[in-house]
């Protein structure tokens, strides 16, 4: 059952150079109790997508399309309504735990404030119990309930932030690079906790990250974003073992893992979203680009391996004009054209 479904979602930012199409026609479903990984390089629009679900887009952003949560279209929601939704329905885990806790407030007061804001009928005793439960689940001992944020280490603060989000029992959790600021061992602890969420609660998780290793280890499904679009989406196992989109396979090849024996990278840089390439946005960097890729917008199809993919290599055949499959000749990309 889907918790959230996006249909042809668009988010544009107005700038002096014209509209920047950060999210440009995205369709995506997140199911109850599922972990969906959203990956892509900086500037591909993945954080914008996360923010649009939370109603946290900056002023000057225009949103269009459909974003259905529990029968309501979030794109039409007022800020007032969003405030009721954020927290008890859709939770958010930020990247930098150090900056999100008030240094002058005890941990207990953070919980009290959060719970009182959303569930005003709770008694103090219930607030205490709910808070300690949430903290205990994150491995924070009750003896430290009344301490201040500076008395905790970075990893503990991130766990406190997660507890603070979970104490409201949201149905959907958006985690934007939740472990980027943390060391590998602490990162593994946090990922473990996030992975356990679906076992204990029916919380769906949208995990936004640039780290494909994290997605591989903790997500069932993955959506790969490039230049404002989802270019491939499917079961994590399939996407990682048999990537359908050339961007996905190139990205996978360019990861430096402990098995890397040879460096590989994608030439060029992700495009300027104020003026993205015509037709397929990846064609200037794609090693398999064909004539059609520079001429016609790709159409979403199912690859033979089952994932959704936005690439002419997978058809549909009948839409490719005669001669469209001939290789595309391009200028060489300069070394320094990079992100």
């Amino acid at each position: 059952m889907s918790v959230l479904s996006a249909r042809d979602l668009r988010v544009w930012y107005g700038t002096s150079r014209g509209p920047v199409r950060a999210v440009d026609g995205i369709s995506l479903e997140i199911n109850a109790g599922e972990t969906l990984g959203l990956v892509g390089e900086s500037g591909c629009g993945k954080s914008t997508l996360g923010r649009s679900i939370l109603g946290l887009l900056p002023r000057g952003a225009v949103i269009d399309g459909e974003l259905l949560y529990d029968g309501q279209n979030l794109t039409e929601l007022s800020q007032r309504d969003f405030r009721r939704l954020r927290g008890p329905e859709i939770g958010l885990i930020f990247q930098e735990p150090m900056t999100r806790l008030n240094p002058l407030m005890r941990i207990s007061d953070h919980f009290k404030e959060t719970l009182e804001a959303h569930e005003s009928s709770l008694t103090d005793e219930e607030i205490r119990r709910r808070s300690l439960d949430a903290l205990g689940g994150m491995g924070i001992p009750p003896t430290r309930f009344r301490q201040y944020p500076h008395e905790f280490s970075g990893g503990m603060r991130q766990r406190i932030m997660i507890a603070l989000t979970l104490v409201l029992r949201p149905k959907l959790l958006i985690a934007d690079e939740p472990t980027t600021a943390l060391d590998v061992l602490v990162e593994a602890q946090i990922l473990q906790i996030l992975g356990d969420l679906k076992k204990n609660a029916d919380t769906a998780l949208l995990l936004i990250t640039h780290n494909l290793g994290i997605v591989a280890e903790s997500c069932e499904r993955v959506a790969v974003m490039y230049a404002g679009q989802i270019v491939e989406e499917g079961a994590a196992r399939t996407v990682f073992s048999e990537p359908a989109h050339p961007y996905t396979s190139e990205l996978l090849r360019s990861i430096i893992s402990s098995k890397t024996t040879e460096l590989h990278y994608i030439p060029g840089a992700p495009p300027d979203l104020a003026d993205p390439p015509k037709a397929c946005r990846f064609h200037p960097r794609c090693p398999y680009a064909m004539q059609v890729c520079a001429a016609k917008d790709p159409i979403e199809v199912r690859a033979e391996t089952g994932q959704r993919v936005l690439c002419w290599l997978h058809g549909p055949e009948e839409e490719i004009p005669p001669g469209g499959k001939a290789p595309l000749e391009r200028e060489a990309i300069a070394v320094a054209e990079e992100a």
Binding site: E41, S42, R129, L132, L135, G136, G139, I140, P141, P142, T143, R144, S153, G154, G155, M156, D183, V184, L185, V186, E187, A188, Q189, L191, Q192, H210, N211, L212, G213, I214, V215, A216, E217, S218, A236, R237, F240, S241, E250, L251, L252, S254, I255, I256, S257, S258, K259, T260, T261, E262, L263, H264, Y265, I266, A269, A334, V335, A336, E338, A339
Partner: protein, 441 residues
């Protein structure tokens, strides 16, 4: 693709180096003359760097790796020990002299944006070392040199980049410019502190490739500081693993990866996220985080988190606090309340001591605390801490846990790998076996 380095002599030797940062302490503490202590960022590190080698210095935040890198260039002042560069002890040379030595020793930082002056165009920034060190003052000569270097690091055509400001560049381009500036004076040693950590995955490979190219072309020796073992494996000839101010393991890269000796290294290796959905997140990694470097753990620094710690690793009072808190974190409220009611303020355990004095609450007999501790031990017999406990006794208003004497890990060479861990120390193991016979039954 890595060439075997031509090892011709030692470029840098570090002997038992310590870098401690004194704490200022509060006004009252200074008034009564109490020692405020110090942060032991680097606490007795020795290694050699061969010419043409890439040595990786790997550790988590708080391990002291950045301080060590800075200390080599005397950007942080050594407290003790020696740094010998090219046969010359530079530990105490004057800053004036040091400045000229830095022509040969350069450093690249993690954040390329912070490393470049936003108001300086690339020509001025990359040419800056030339004017600072008085290599050339001639505008035309300077432009020629800068242009050549920009093209070499891939910022080509140089004409397009000479007039650019950092704000016009992407992260990768900025790091290229920073590398160009570092190489400008043709140094011997480049300390690279997380040079690719802030860059996107797809750009990291390009910058690493550039660094490999520069090394071969300019005969550089690298100290590559990182928290990322995957890039270190690819890039380094040897790897040193740092934990809380010490190098706990040092050896050839292949050997470290194939056969990690130190339990900390082994944990780090297993924690690397791999793009392989079949792998899953390892579940039995060390808990907690790198402890405070002001009062590091007794004995072995890693013992509180170590999955293989045993009798002599340095068990102490603070470990008992961690044990109790960890237990209570996962507990039903009633049970927790019952246990906590017996035990007084846990702050009493915050001391470096081989006797843990677990206080009982006012009016509770210490016998009840002893019984509780015994019960915890029965319930969790595999907890490493109990290996270290010699006895649990009543003592007035406290329960006393006496631990076996903790030993400082010695510097050992196991096969070709240097390691600081009691697991490889026959004497420590022998002592532990004796303790095991006389310890708690």
């Amino acid at each position: 693709m890595q060439k075997k380095p031509e090892l011709n002599g030692t470029l840098l030797e570090v002997k038992d180096l310590k870098v401690h940062f004194p704490l200022r302490g509060s006004f009252v503490e200074r008034l009564v003359g109490r020692e405020p202590g110090s942060v032991k960022a680097v606490d007795g590190v020795s290694f050699q760097l061969q010419r043409g080698e890439v040595l990786g210095l790997v550790g988590e935040s708080g391990s002291g790796k950045t301080t060590l890198g800075r200390a080599l260039l005397r950007l942080a002042e050594p407290t003790e020990g020696a740094i010998v560069y090219d046969g010359r002890d530079i530990t105490r040379v004057e800053e004036r002299e040091m400045r000229s030595l830095r022509r040969k020793m350069q450093i690249v930082f993690q954040d390329p944006h912070a490393s470049l002056n936003p108001a300086m165009d690339l020509e001025t920034a990359v040419g800056h070392p030339l004017s600072i060190h008085g290599v050339t003052k001639d505008k035309v000569d300077m432009r020629r040199r800068v242009s050549e270097m920009l093209e070499r690091v891939g910022l080509a055509p140089a004409d397009r980049f000479l007039t650019k400001y950092p704000g016009d560049l992407s992260g990768g381009q900025k790091q290229r410019a920073v590398l160009a500036r570092a190489i400008m004076l043709n140094p011997d040693l480049l300390v690279a502190d997380e040079p690719v950590s802030m860059l996107d995955m797809s750009v990291r490979a390009k910058i690493l490739e550039l660094m490999i190219g520069l090394k071969d072309e300019f005969d550089l020796t690298y100290l590559y500081i990182t928290h990322d073992l995957a890039t270190a494996r690819f890039f380094c000839d040897r790897i040193a693993i740092m934990y809380l101010g010490r190098i706990v393991e040092l050896g050839q890269t292949e050997e470290i990866f194939a056969n990690p000796r130190h339990p900390y290294t082994a944990s780090l290796l297993r924690a690397i996220p791999e793009p392989d959905p079949a792998k899953g997140i390892p579940r039995d990694l060390p808990r907690g985080e790198v402890p405070d470097a002001v009062t590091p753990p007794h004995g072995c620094n890693f013992h509180p988190r170590c999955p293989r710690a045993f009798e002599v690793c340095g068990w102490e009072a603070r470990d008992v606090r961690d044990l109790l808190e960890e237990r209570w974190a996962g507990m039903a409220e009633q049970e927790f309340t019952r246990e906590q009611a017996l035990i007084g303020d846990l702050d009493a355990l915050d001391e470096v001591s081989e006797i843990a004095r677990v206080p009982s609450t006012e009016g509770v007999r210490s016998r009840h605390v002893v019984e509780l501790l015994e019960r915890i031990r029965r319930e969790q017999p595999d907890t490493r801490l109990w290996k270290g406990a010699r006895s649990i006794e009543e003592g007035g208003k406290e329960a006393l846990i006496q631990f076996h004497e903790g030993l400082e890990p010695r510097h050992l060479v196991v096969d070709s790998v240097e390691v600081e861990c009691h697991l490889y120390d026959d004497e420590a193991r022998g002592r532990a076996e004796e303790h095991a016979r006389e310890g708690l039954k």
